[in-house]
């Protein structure tokens, strides 16, 4: 495979697509599959066959079409019509009336001019819901692997790193470290073997961005990893994916096989001297393995216990060798930056946070689903324009970002621009991209307790502040929610939170108190209402908690 072959393949595929009169896309991502998408797509295919339209009409399974709450979704790409809640009857109707008679099926029509679609900017998700997620040809036709060819033929590794550094791309896993700087450190580190690792252990409950990217556009991640491998001098890559995402794993395996067959992965990629292999490692359900040192332990087949840093993985990582770890979304941003140049990327976003961010919008909100917005967009636009606000009769109370490591943002900060610094200022974090909306029915003490229980269960047990601290914080929260606590317990709660935050070994413990601290900051009243007046309290001293639940 040479660059010319790639070009030829792309043209051939475009020509093939152009010959079809209609392209019907159906969402084959987990959300739509779980609400009957497979039956609908089977009906579509059967109806097309029944009318003998196979030659002029193709039915293609794509990645997430976005509006997960209204699934199954079907899109007629030729005239850009989106249908929602497509059951078997509706699917048959689409063929009978839209395809055959050119009359749209009004009952299932989804308005694509609504803000949910109009207010988004798509970089990472540009192919999600536009191409067949199981076809490498379609990815190549959508300028896929062009960036890899460009890098291998025209650029030195140092130039690639410089380009990424100039783009201002920051890690999308949550902490927001400059991707270019990280690549620079790994490329300068000494080691006979270097590794590139993609963190696809999306453990944050309420987040499904990485899953959608892997299911909808797996080649984009592989291409990003290969470019990273070339830039830092690595020849082996690993994707560490959660076992809970079987479909994503299946698609990744298929994508790796296809790319190897075409010489886009493996030895002498695109006729260059560069070799790069990618293997998949499957996690086994441990939240702490999202932490980079724990993740590396897990790839080595050990318990996912974090290690103290430094040494950072960029110097001593997998098997003691320099290792580059980036998140799925970070890798998904690489190919477009190389293809279109860092200047293009710099135009999107705010001064310090460039580009876009994918959010998984869920909770008590009308439009749930997957969205991609430019950095710096006000929270209000996300929740009320794109998300359509909370359900009728309820009032917006708080937005939760960053999962168990993040915080709740109350209504008074709705005009906050969504970028790394602003979210940190209000005690939350960008996190990996889960955005859960809570309305007046959610009780904040219960929410804090929910997250603390999560951290307590997921603590690996290596360091004491996290292992014991989270347990006691949970105990105190339980006591408060059962109206057995006094003001003294509140003081203890705050002390414990600070202690756990400042003395824990890894990110899990250091950020575990965040949901408690942020709800204490903004919803203190709800805590105070549950407290016992000091003189009334006659219970036994000490923490009593029901840990069994």
């Amino acid at each position: 495979m040479t660059q010319e072959d790639l070009q030829e393949l792309s043209e051939k595929e475009l020509q093939r697509q152009g010959e079809k009169k209609h392209r019907i896309l159906y969402c084959s991502a987990a959300g739509c599959v779980s609400c009957g998408g497979e039956k609908a797509s089977a009906a579509l295919k059967a109806k097309i066959k029944e009318h003998g339209l196979e030659k002029e009409c193709e039915v293609v399974g794509t990645g997430c079409l976005g509006l997960c709450g209204e699934g199954p979704l079907v899109k007629v790409q030729t005239d850009n019509t989106l249908y929602q809640n497509v059951d078997v009857a509706a699917a048959e109707q689409i063929v009978e009336s839209h395809i055959l008679k050119n009359q749209k099926v009004k009952a299932n029509l989804s308005d694509i001019s609504q803000p949910f679609f109009a207010a988004q900017t798509k970089i990472v998700l540009e192919n999600c819901g536009a191409i067949d997620s199981e076809s490498i040809e379609e990815y190549i036709a959508a300028s896929g692997y062009e960036a890899l060819a460009k890098v291998l033929n025209e650029m030195q590794p140092a130039e690639v790193i410089e380009e990424i550094r100039k783009s201002g791309l920051r890690g999308r896993g949550g902490a927001g470290y400059s991707t270019g700087l990280k690549w620079g450190i790994v490329s300068k580190a000494h080691g006979e073997q270097k590794y590139v690792v993609c963190n696809a252990d999306e453990g944050d409950p309420g987040a499904f961005m990485d899953r959608s990217v892997l299911e909808g556009d797996p080649h984009r991640v592989l291409e990003g990893m290969a470019i990273a491998g070339y830039a830092v001098g690595a020849t082996q890559g690993y994707v560490y994916c959660r076992a809970e995402y079987p479909l994503a794993i299946e698609r990744l395996k298929l994508a790796i096989k296809q790319a190897e067959k075409l010489g886009l992965l493996g030895n002498r990629i695109i006729e260059s001297q560069f070799n790069f292999r990618i293997d998949i490692r499957i996690g086994a359900g441990a939240f702490v393995c999202g932490e980079e040192t724990a993740l590396l332990q897990s790839i080595e087949g050990k318990r996912g216990n974090p290690k103290p840093r430094p040494p950072y993985p960029s110097e001593k990582g997998l098997w003691g060798m320099p290792t580059l770890i980036n998140n799925v979304e970070t890798f998904a941003n690489i190919a477009p930056i190389i293809r279109k140049g860092s200047d293009w990327f710099l135009k999107i976003g705010t001064e310090k946070s460039k580009g876009t961010k994918v959010f998984a919008l869920a909770g008590n909100i009308r439009n749930t689903g997957l969205i991609e917005v430019p950095m710096g967009i006000p929270l209000r636009t996300i929740i009320f324009d794109i998300g359509g606000g909370t359900a009728e009769g309820t009032e917006f109370k708080a937005a939760q970002t960053g999962g168990p490591s993040g915080g709740c943002i109350p209504a008074e900060y709705l005009d906050l621009p969504v970028d790394y610094e602003s979210l940190l200022k209000v005690g939350s974090i960008m996190g990996s991209g889960g955005l859960i909306v809570m309305d007046s029915t959610s009780k904040m003490v219960e929410v804090a307790k929910f997250f603390m229980q999560f951290c307590m269960d997921e603590s690996c047990g290596k360091c004491i502040p996290c292992r014991v601290g989270t347990r006691h914080i949970y105990g105190l929260l339980d006591k408060i929610s059962k109206k057995k606590a006094t003001q003294d317990d509140m003081v203890l709660l705050q002390e414990l939170c600070t202690m756990v935050k400042e003395t824990s070994l890894c990110g899990l413990g250091q950020s575990a108190p965040n949901p408690v601290l942020s709800t204490l900051r903004f919803f203190r009243k709800e805590y105070d209402e549950l407290l016992q007046p000091v003189e009334m309290y006659m219970g036994e001293p000490g923490v009593e908690a029901d840990f069994e639940k």
Binding site: A30, G31, V33, S34, C35, C68, G69, G71, E202, G203, D204, P205, G206, A207, F208, R211, A243, E244, Y245, R281, I282, G283, A284, G285, A286, F287, S298, I299, E300, G301, K302, R303, G304, A360, A362, G363, N364, T368, G369, L370, Q400, G403, G434, I436, V437, M438, S442, V447, F450, F451, F454, C460
Partner: protein
């Protein structure tokens, strides 16, 4: 006849042959432990002690390490599950949408806490951290089917239906 005997695994249980194949594929390397345990659980359904000893010897690892890994990760079961599994998602989105009420309803109905199997060995109730279908919250996975937008009554109805179906054995 002699050939057939040759193909048999020494233990008499041919499922071990599948496991051996996976171990050979990873060149019996110790760092493939998690992969091998995934395969073992896929074949045998759960990881009993003898199986862990077998894996430890095959990969030349101390049993303590194999046991340590098997107990560290939530995905590995050391006990067999019931005939059907009900995995209730307790992710944030599902929690906000009332998964807790479904949990209580199912626990009361089947006199069985989540994390356990009913006395008649029919249904195992399991909670999951997040199954990633947050748009459909609250969600449960009944055997292999994801069911979304549940409520307590609907979930009991679904589990009853599930109990009456026979699970296909996956080969």
């Amino acid at each position: 006849m002699a050939q057939v005997e040759k193909q048999q695994h020494p233990s008499g249980d041919n499922r071990f042959k599948l496991l051996d194949r996976a171990i050979t594929k990873h060149q019996a390397r110790g760092d493939a432990l998690i992969e091998v345990l995934h395969v073992a659980q896929g074949i045998f359904g759960y990881l009993e002690n003898d199986l862990l000893i077998y894996v430890a010897r095959a990969l030349k690892l101390p049993l303590s390490r194999v046991y340590g890994v098997a107990t560290f990760y939530h995905f590995f079961n050391l006990k067999p599950n019931g005939e059907h599994t009900v995995v209730l998602c307790m992710g944030t989105a599902c929690y906000v949408k009332g998964a807790e009420h479904i949990q209580t309803a199912l626990e009361e109905r089947y006199h069985c806490k989540f994390g356990q199997t009913t006395d008649d060995n029919k249904v195992s109730l399991i909670t999951a951290r997040c199954v990633g279908s947050c748009g459909l919250a609250p969600v449960a996975v009944l055997d292999n089917d994801v069911v979304g937008k549940l409520n307590p009554d609907e979930s009991i109805k679904r589990v009853e239906q599930l109990k009456n179906t026979r699970r296909e054995v996956v080969s």
